[in-house]
């Protein structure tokens, strides 16, 4: 993971960061892994996601409670799309093999809803796609996994 840049901030913001955002770090790691299919890639984008969150904490004072997972997914998806040219060595796990045939937008929709538990409207909002596109991506992802020969 990259060496972090530190943001000295008010203690109440530190509490928001620790209580609402850090508690979802594993979920972000799973999303980042689904997007990159790489442990190195997952670590990289978790680091980038949390750097972006830490740098903008005052923005999330009113929405962190109850909305942190959506904010994290939105941020992870954004930083991934900004830096997706980065190359990472791919994983060989069953999860990586099962997700590999899917486009990243389909993986993002799948993880946001079936793993992280967002509702469809929230998932569409944080992934910045239309409700219809979200359903199409989700349907494609589920259909592909259900017909996959890879055993999870």
């Amino acid at each position: 993971m990259a060496t972090p840049a530190k943001h000295p901030i008010d203690e109440s913001l530190v509490a928001i960061y620790e209580e609402h955002f850090l508690t979802h770090a594993d979920m972000v790691y799973r999303l980042a892994f689904a997007l990159t299919l790489s442990l190195d890639g997952a670590r990289h984008f978790v680091g980038e996601t949390y750097k972006a969150i830490a740098a903008n904490l005052p923005k999330y004072v009113d929405t962190a409670e109850g909305g942190a997972s959506g904010i994290l997914i939105e941020t992870c998806w954004r930083v991934f799309n900004e830096h997706k040219g980065n190359a990472f060595s791919g994983g060989q796990s069953a999860v990586a093999k099962a997700l590999q045939p899917l486009a990243t937008s389909a993986r993002a929709a799948l993880v946001a809803i079936d793993v992280a538990g967002l509702d469809a409207a929230s998932a569409a909002r944080v992934l910045q796609i239309s409700d219809k596109d979200l359903r199409v991506h989700l349907a494609h992802a589920r259909r592909t996994l259900l017909s996959s020969s890879v055993q999870l």
């Binding site: 901030i9 999860v95 993880v111």
Partner: protein, 287 residues
């Protein structure tokens, strides 16, 4: 203009709304359409296969988690302002004295280095224990057992004595696995298993009542530890039974300490007081 599900083709509508279908969150018009599609030969059994897939995906994803040192790096991304000022003041003080105290400074650095190495050894030595997250892991385990209990149980059995014997003689368990002494009349034991998370072993017993769609389940997990290992929660007290409760989207957790060094957690879709009542009725050993 608002999106209408009818804009989707049949397959996209069906696959795209499977989660809401299973969770009972569809509006009557989409539900009717889904049910009609699910009866066509092409899609028969799809809802069950999706439910199983979703559980397996969630469980598989559980194996991806950050290590303590990686979490520490994320935590260090923010530092309170007061700490930073303190750090700067210390740093200025050290610099102002550096010319006259260089020998002491080097000794200090050496001591700090040794302390850091000792700290790392202590920290990494504890990492294994800290990785076990009972509520998260057992919530997923309960969901997986809920979906396919026979697949997850090492000992499917309706015989409480056999279940107790299985857990008592299970090799390598470093705690006294818990079995409810006598569940209410309409409940029966369905079997048991021991889950090995590498960092901890967990004994699990499944109880059920009812049949078909009205079937209800609860899970009784036990593992080595203390209630203080769980996140802080307000304690409940039901006729002398002291317990802590937690909740997830679908499940409630009632945690208590039946004997020293063992935590037991009852997990189910019932309310926490109902679960605590089952515990009491089952005359499990009291703390």
């Amino acid at each position: 203009m608002a999106f209408s599900p009818t804009e989707l083709n049949n397959a996209d509508l069906l696959y795209g709304y499977l989660d809401e279908y299973l969770d009972g969150e569809l509006t009557p018009d989409i539900l009717a359409k889904m049910e009609s599609l699910l009866q066509t030969p092409e899609f028969v059994g799809l809802a069950d296969r999706f439910q199983s897939l979703r559980g397996k995906l969630q469980l598989a994803m559980q194996s991806y988690y950050l290590k303590e040192e990686e979490l520490a790096v994320l935590s260090a991304l923010v530092v309170p302002q007061g700490d930073k000022q303190k750090a700067e003041a210390t740093s200025i003080e050290v610099l102002s004295r550096s010319n006259t105290h260089s020998v002491y400074l080097r000794a200090g650095v050496l001591i700090l280095l040794l302390a850091a190495i000792s700290g790392s050894i202590w920290k990494f030595g504890r990492t294994k224990e800290q990785r076990f997250k009972p509520l998260e892991y057992l919530g997923y385990e309960a969901q997986a057992m809920d979906e396919d209990a026979q697949e997850r149980l090492n000992l499917p059995s309706h015989d409480a004595k056999e279940v107790r014997q299985y857990l008592e003689t299970y090799p390598g368990l470093e705690f006294k696995a818990q079995v409810l002494r006598s569940v209410p009349a309409d409940w029966q034991v369905e079997g048991a298993t021991v889950i090995d998370y590498e960092v901890a072993k967990v004994a699990a017993v499944l109880y059920e009542r009812g049949k078909g769609k009205s079937k209800e389940k609860f899970f009784y997990f036990s593992f080595a530890g203390g209630l203080s290992d769980l996140p802080a929660a307000e304690a409940g007290n039901m006729r002398g039974l002291i317990y802590q409760t937690y909740t997830s989207n679908e499940l409630n957790f009632v945690a208590w300490q039946p004997v020293a060094g063992v935590v037991a957690i009852l997990v189910g879709r019932h309310s926490a007081p109902d679960l605590a009542d089952i515990l009491l009725t089952s005359r499990a050993p009291k703390n």
